[in-house]
């Protein structure tokens, strides 16, 4: 039988994971040399508390998990005769998947019959959340593994995510957004717009003066790039900025109508450590990213 895995960097909570039968791989972050494994070290993510800590100047770091940890997750499944499909956050954003590759190679040598499949969501947080759920929805609807893998080949690139951050310092520290090197420091009142590229990286694609302009930019991206987005999941993610997220939701409604559901998701702490608080992003089905 096929066992599903995803990770906590995709914003999937244990409750949502249970809906589809995903097992959650916990991706850690560290605060003051204390490493925290989401949903292992806590049961419920206290987003407001976490992001307030960032507002007060704490800069968490994130770390890759080891080969041994992947083996702990995967081996029981192989040993029980199950195959694995792991829908994960972007390979291009981390070195953790090198450790996973080693773990999988080792396990394959030990369990040559077993199959390991993966879908790279080429993103993190909201966009990965959307894709992980869409994959889960397809499997639930009875699609075969082969069909789902074929779907992912083309469809992963058709989920777009655009977002803005309040304070660049988090991104600058993590060095994970390209195109920001040219703007030199913290920009008060000026928000860079960042999107998730087809390579699975965060890329800066402009900046806007003021929050309203930044929110309008997100809405405009939906208008320009959106394709058949009403029949897919439409998700607004935020880093502890529910009012802003709802305001964006309201603007989306005004522009595109009421005839589709909008889901709101708070970004997981590991991804949030790189984005910082007060950011908002939209994820939608698009012509391209």
């Amino acid at each position: 039988m096929l066992r599903l895995f995803t990770d906590t960097d995709t914003d999937i909570t244990p409750a949502v994971a249970a809906e589809y039968g995903y097992r959650l791989i916990s991706m850690p972050y560290s605060v003051d040399a204390k490493t925290v494994y989401p949903y292992v070290d806590f049961n419920e993510f206290e987003a407001h508390k976490f992001y307030d800590m960032l507002r007060n100047g704490v800069l968490p770091t994130t770390s890759a998990i080891s080969k041994e940890r992947y083996i702990e997750y995967f081996e029981p499944e192989f040993a029980a005769g199950n195959d694995i499909l792991y829908v994960h956050f972007s390979r291009a954003m981390t070195v953790t998947f090198n450790a996973m590759d080693e773990a999988v190679a080792e396990l394959k040598a030990k369990y040559p019959e077993r199959q390991f499949h993966e879908i790279d969501t080429k993103g993190i947080t909201t966009i990965s959340y959307t894709i992980v759920r869409e994959v889960g929805d397809l499997l639930k609807a009875g699609k075969s593994l082969e069909e789902v893998l074929a779907w992912a080949e083309t469809e992963v690139d058709k989920f777009a995510m655009y977002f803005f951050a309040d304070d660049l310092k988090f991104f600058r520290r993590s060095g994970r957004v390209s195109g920001l090197a040219a703007t030199m420091g913290t920009l008060i009142g000026i928000r860079p717009i960042i999107y998730m590229s087809q390579e699975g990286k965060m890329v800066s694609c402009g900046k806007e003066k003021g929050r309203l302009k930044a929110m309008e930019h997100l809405v405009q991206q939906v208008a320009d790039l959106g394709e058949d987005f009403k029949s897919h999941r439409f998700v607004i993610g935020h880093t502890d900025a529910p009012e802003l997220a709802e305001e964006v939701g309201k603007m989306i409604r005004e522009r595109f109508g009421e005839d589709f559901p909008i889901e709101y998701v708070v970004a997981n702490p590991t991804a949030g450590s790189h984005a910082g608080p007060n950011g908002v992003g939209v994820c939608f089905h698009a012509k391209h990213r």
């Binding site: 703007t183 420091g185 009142g189 003021g210």
Partner: protein
């Protein structure tokens, strides 16, 4: 010399301080630890100097009273690891001299031994090869001397020998090829004391405390990782309301600190507890200790900033960069804002203080870039900047005509060094200057043009657009006149004399819901508020 009385004791201390003062830099340069804990020479000097001016004692005060007063002074002035240990040495000596009018060589020798005991006691894990060893071996060698002259001769020579051996005891010294800095400082003090005993005034005591090195805030940027933590020092007065003073055992504090920090130096003197500790989380340390008492003094320093000098060296080593920025601003908040935005150097200056050409030249030298963009941020300073640019031949200097801090701010926020060549970037910055409207609120200093002294004036360019009885209402009226609501961002820098910045922020946000209102502490003089619209 047969005995030491109060007056001679103070002279010995002053002689020690004078000799240390003359060699302060030598000691500073001996710092080998990956992260110097401040500068040992300066810290030790400031510590002993604080003991040189004891509270006024009568002419006939006893040696015991004097030693206690010197020790109390050092307790208050103790800085850094070696400084704290130094203050402990003299606290021990004072204890050893309790209840004596004067001391002969034997009594003094015993007091010095008490200083050894006290210093070892102050450190949670005494490390050999440090100031502790140097002092102990000196005191041990000098014990049994027939008189004070012999005592100080033996003390100094044994300390010198011990100091030369410190690298054998401490690997870190051996690797760096130096002797222990604290031990070296103490040797200078002992030599100075010996000179004073002989009535020599070897060096005059430099009364001036070295200006605290200006922390280079660039040494810790938004991308830095807290590697070294904070040097945290405080004096805590145990409180009767919090602990039972008669039975309180301070080891409950020192044990906890030893587990929660590094480089701990800890001691208790009566109801005062002195702590020096390195920690990544000073808040936790302070909260914990406050349950036993209240703070008398407190110092917390980011140790990466203490690394200042080395950082500068490295900066020069990396060679010339393509682009640099020099901005002029006054007010700590504004200077910090410009630095955060990417200015390499912020020259202090503004409406009432125009920096001279030399300041710009120095800044250009320091930035060390092929092209330097200059944001003068004031009409008067613009000319000085242009003059400096003209005479400077070592780099391509491009002065952006920003006449207000707001214009400079917005230009810098729009700096994109990958946008093209220097000329293209200059054009984009100059264009940005035109997109911003700046309003200023300032107080009239005399009656003029229908305004009265003390009125607040809302200024835009050379025009006074509004006036009012308080800075807040003047700012709101100015915002209206400048049609703040038609801009995306309303940025307010609150000056040093602003009365109700938060009220202003709320009022602006309520009045202009479509604009984003941001309040920044600017701390600038002259202008209660600077309004930046873009």
């Amino acid at each position: 010399m047969d005995s030491i009385d109060a007056r001679l004791y103070l002279n010995l201390i002053r002689g020690g301080a004078a000799r240390l003062s003359a060699h302060r830099q030598t000691i500073n340069d001996l710092n080998v630890f990956p992260i110097p804990d401040g500068d040992t020479g300066d810290n030790m000097f400031m510590t002993i100097q604080a003991g040189c001016t004891p509270a006024s004692l009568g002419a006939d005060c006893t040696l015991s009273e004097m030693a206690k007063a010197v020790s109390a002074g050092m307790l208050m002035g103790a800085r850094g690891n070696s400084g704290v240990i130094l203050s402990r040495i003299f606290a021990g000596i004072a204890k050893g001299l309790a209840d004596v009018r004067e001391a002969g060589v034997n009594a003094f020798s015993r007091a010095m031994q008490a200083g050894v005991d006290e210093s070892y006691h102050a450190v949670s894990e005494p490390v050999e090869g440090t100031i502790l060893t140097v002092f102990r071996e000196g005191v041990e060698a000098a014990a049994g001397s027939k008189d004070l002259d012999e005592y100080f001769d033996l003390l100094v020579s044994a300390m010198d020998l011990s100091l030369q051996h410190t690298p054998e005891l401490l690997d870190v010294l051996k690797k760096a090829g130096v002797v222990d800095s604290g031990g070296a400082g103490l040797l200078y003090i002992a030599e100075g004391m010996r000179a004073a005993l002989h009535g020599e005034i070897a060096e005059t005591l430099d009364e001036a405390v070295p200006a605290p090195a200006h922390a280079d805030l660039d040494a810790f940027t938004e991308d830095s990782i807290l590697e070294f933590g904070y040097c945290t020092e405080f004096l805590l007065r145990l409180q009767r309301s919090k602990v039972d003073l008669d039975t309180f055992d301070e080891t409950v504090i020192s044990d906890w600190l030893a587990q929660n920090g590094d480089s701990l130096v800890f001691f208790r003197d009566g109801t005062i507890i002195k702590v020096h500790v390195h920690t990544r989380t000073p808040g936790e340390i302070l909260n914990h200790c406050q349950q036993y008492g209240e703070f008398l003094t407190l110092k917390v320093e980011n140790m990466t900033l203490q690394h200042h000098e080395n950082h500068m060296d490295e900066r020069f080593k990396v060679g010339r960069k393509s682009y640099g920025v020099v901005a002029v601003a006054s007010g700590s908040g504004l200077a910090a804002t410009f630095k955060e935005l990417g200015a390499d150097i912020v020259i202090e200056g503004g409406q009432t203080m125009n920096p001279p050409v030399e300041r710009f030249i120095e800044a250009f030298d320091t930035v060390n870039a092929e092209t330097v963009f200059v944001l003068p941020n004031n009409g008067n300073i613009l000319l000085t900047a242009r003059q400096a640019a003209e005479i400077y031949g070592k780099a391509d200097i491009r002065v952006i005509p920003s006449k207000t801090l707001g214009e400079g701010y917005y230009a810098l926020a729009n700096l994109d060094t990958e946008a093209g060549d220097a000329q293209t970037i200059e054009a984009s910055l100059t264009e940005a200057v035109d997109e911003v409207a700046t309003g200023l609120v300032s107080r009239a200093i005399r009656d003029s043009g229908g305004f009265h002294e003390g009125d607040y004036l809302g200024i835009h360019g050379k025009m006074i657009l509004t006036s009012g009885p308080d800075p807040e209402s003047t700012l709101l009226a100015l915002a209206d006149t400048l049609q703040a609501g038609s801009f995306d961002v309303i940025l307010v820098f609150a000056g040093a004399d602003a009365k109700d910045p938060d009220g202003v922020r709320k009022a602006l946000a309520a009045r202009y819901p479509r604009s984003e209102v941001i309040l920044q502490p600017g701390g600038q003089p002259v202008y209660e508020y600077i309004l930046v619209l873009f």
